[in-house]
Amino acid sequence: MQEEIREIEDGLCLTVRVANDQGLHARPAARLVKEASRFTSRIVLASGDAEVDAKSILDILSLAAAKGTALELRASGPDAREALRHLAATFANRFREDT
């Protein structure tokens, strides 16, 4: 049921879904920033026209992505593929700490 990583103009992208009840609220957003910051690639989250920095908690919060929202994760850089895989798992685990 995992989505495929696709190639785009300047990197890779993957569609993820917000699965936790609260949506991308403070704690999940914090978790996401921490995980994204482990990679050197530039990572952005896109929802409709909005495109935000996955390493900025304020940017992520400003998306106000509710549960069920589909988001596109785009990464460009040396560890783009790893980053997308890892972040997709973070989304799938609903940002739980124990994974």
Binding site: M1, Q2, A26, A30, D53, S62, A64, N93, R94
Partner: protein, 592 residues
């Protein structure tokens, strides 16, 4: 100071009477909003960076002092640390210093206002309120820039009512909590950090108090009513006497609740109701047992499916289910089969992009379409049935045929287990959720083919009244005592009892002190509610008279409008528990 009442939002229940003490009185006018010489801009940026670093160190230290039981609190400080490092805030402020040649304090203020503006159009209340976090972090950096540190202007000598514009988690970690009777802040809403901290430490708190700083001074005598959400400044003698009494009563009530929570929920005239819990994780069992729950009336099984990228295996589910069943034994555990869809989607469901998932391929419909997924779960539940008092129920049943299809599959699984010589309880009860109006109307037929009913009122109300409770434009129509809802529940209970099967109500209605007497009047057999609601509801049931519940139910059934029903119910119930009900809020509070 003249007597004055200030209104706010109660976030941690309780009463306190004491002297006010302001943690820090903000004085915005002293913020240096000045121009620096172009050459000084670089040193201004460096000043900002070193203040940010100092604040990050303070926050990290505060984070390390958070006791393990305050995990939420640690998470909040973590998010503040991220804000302090966020490029949106700090890099933007640095850019403003260089472009406009202004002081670091002014640049930071501008950066915050830019973020506040961007957030102001967000519809989600919780996220909009997080601008407060940005302000709190920026405020800390700003104070640091102006040479201050810490949160209290001087140490507390005696127990005080702590007041502040807002309290950040890092601030609260530096507070001597044993010297604080209660909190009052002028900022903050229902989800504010002060509330989280206060609840976990059992300290009363009122937030969002308008004009707090203008009207209260250090040393003023105040009453903090964190049951109803206001502050009385300079109270008169009658108020002091009344509140001293109320405070005493509330504290005694909390103690009594805990002491009595293991007693059976039996009305004064001997009608016994089973009180069980709604949970979604095995770890919650401890709380169920602590609060006097007699079993689990609704185990939501979705978590195992939504928490991993792949579907759970039969053995993973079996392990989870049998652990839960054996811990809870001899208390029962009712497993609700997979209820995905609507607000809880599997990845493949989200890919279908249904235009209206609440009315789409969800719950039992999804399971009947994905038979392998369904049978894997049924096998795990059946195998777990030998480890305790296990029952199973199907969600979202809309008609007889769906129920029969599900039961055919359950029988196939039983035969497969027989062939594999795996043990299971052949008499495990099988029930259904009644949450669709169609199921209500054919409850008599359904009752002939199952062992029990569980009425899911949260969904039944939404589907019957045609409203989405999360939609703020129509949420006012979420009316638990609408005549259609009361009649529906009554119809289902009567149909069940005619066939000699048990019926329970799971949903917030069953945890509402004003609604529970109506359910009792219908002679429901069990209620299933959140663990934290159990002690209070059990106590109310034990003080209720079944005959009076029946009389009230009959009056409700004869009444045509919701407003009138709510009025009648409120007046009647309030007269029965005038003291207790001051400690509760209700689903029917926002009528007329």
């Amino acid at each position: 100071m003249a007597r004055l009442i200030l209104h706010g939002i109660p976030v941690s229940a309780g009463i306190s009477i004491g002297k006010a003490f302001f943690a820090w009185r903000d004085n915005i006018s002293t913020l240096p909003r000045g121009i620096v010489t172009p050459g000084a801009a670089q040193s201004e940026v460096e000043r900002l960076e070193s203040a940010v670093e100092a604040v990050q160190n303070e926050l990290t230290q505060a984070r390390n002092r958070v006791p393990a039981e305050l995990k939420d609190h640690a998470a909040i400080i973590d998010s503040h640390l991220l804000i302090a490092a966020d490029p949106k805030l700090i890099k933007d402020a640095a850019r403003r210093i260089q472009e406009q040649n202004i002081t670091a304090e002014w640049a930071l203020e501008q950066a915050v206002e830019a973020i506040a503006l961007a957030f102001s159009s967000i519809e989600d209340d919780y996220i909009r309120e997080r601008v407060q976090d940005v302000r709190v972090v920026a405020d800390r950096i700003s104070k640091r820039l102006m040479g201050a540190s810490g949160c209290l202007k001087r140490p507390l000598q005696e127990r005080m009512v702590l007041m502040a514009h807002d309290l950040a988690p890092a601030d609260t970690m530096e507070l001597p909590l044993d010297k604080i009777m209660s909190f009052a802040t002028s900022e903050g809403g229902k989800t504010s950090h002060t509330g989280i901290l206060a609840r976990s430490m059992l300290i009363p708190a009122v937030v969002g108090v308008s004009n707090l700083e203008e009207h209260v001074n250090d040393g003023d005598l105040v009453i903090v009513d964190a049951l109803r959400g206001f502050i009385i400044v300079d109270p008169n003698e009658d108020e002091l006497a009344d509140y001293t009494e109320l405070k005493f009563q509330f504290e005694a009530y909390q103690k009594a609740l805990h002491k009595e929570c293991r007693l059976p929920a039996e009305t004064v005239d001997g009608y016994r109701v089973e009180v069980v819990a709604n949970i979604e994780m095995t770890e919650e069992v401890a709380q169920v047992l602590d609060s006097g729950g007699e079993g689990v009336g609704l185990y939501r099984t979705e978590y195992a499916y939504l928490s991993r990228p792949a579907l759970p295996t039969e053995d993973q589910l079996y392990e989870e289910y049998s652990e839960l069943a054996s811990i809870m034994a001899p208390g029962k555990v009712i497993f609700r089969t997979l209820d995905v869809g609507a607000d809880k989607m599997l990845t493949e469901q989200t890919l279908m992009r249904e235009p209206n998932p609440a009315l789409g391929l969800r719950a039992i419909r999804y399971c009947l379409r994905n038979i392998d997924v369904f049978k894997t779960q049924l096998r795990a539940i059946l195998r777990a049935s030998v480890h305790g008092n296990v029952a199973l129920m199907f969600p979202m049943i809309s008609g007889l045929q769906e129920l029969r299809q599900a039961k055919v599959l359950l029988n196939e699984v039983r035969m497969e287990l027989d062939r594999a010589r795996q043990p299971y309880n052949p008499n495990m009860p099988v029930g259904i959720m009644i949450e669709l109006p169609s199921a209500v109307l054919i409850a008599d037929s359904l009752a002939q083919e199952v062992d029990f009913f569980s009425i899911g009122t949260n969904d039944l109300i939404q589907y019957s009244l045609g409203i989405d409770r999360g939609n703020k434009h129509v949420s006012y129509l979420y009316q638990p005592l609408h005549p259609a809802i009361v009649r529906s529940i009554k119809f289902v209970v009567d149909a069940a009892h005619r066939e000699g099967i048990e019926v329970s109500v799971c949903g917030e209605v069953a945890a509402d002190p004003y609604c529970i007497p109506i359910l009792l009047g219908m002679q429901i057999d069990a209620i299933s509610i959140a663990p934290q609601s159990i002690p209070g509801i059990k106590r109310i049931i034990r003080r209720t008279n079944m005959e009076e519940c029946k009389t009230l139910l009959n009056e409700v059934l004869r009444t045509a409008t919701v407003a009138r029903i709510n009025r009648v119910v409120k007046d009647t119930i309030f007269k029965q528990f005038p003291e207790e009900l001051t400690f509760y809020s209700s689903l029917i509070d926002h009528d007329d």
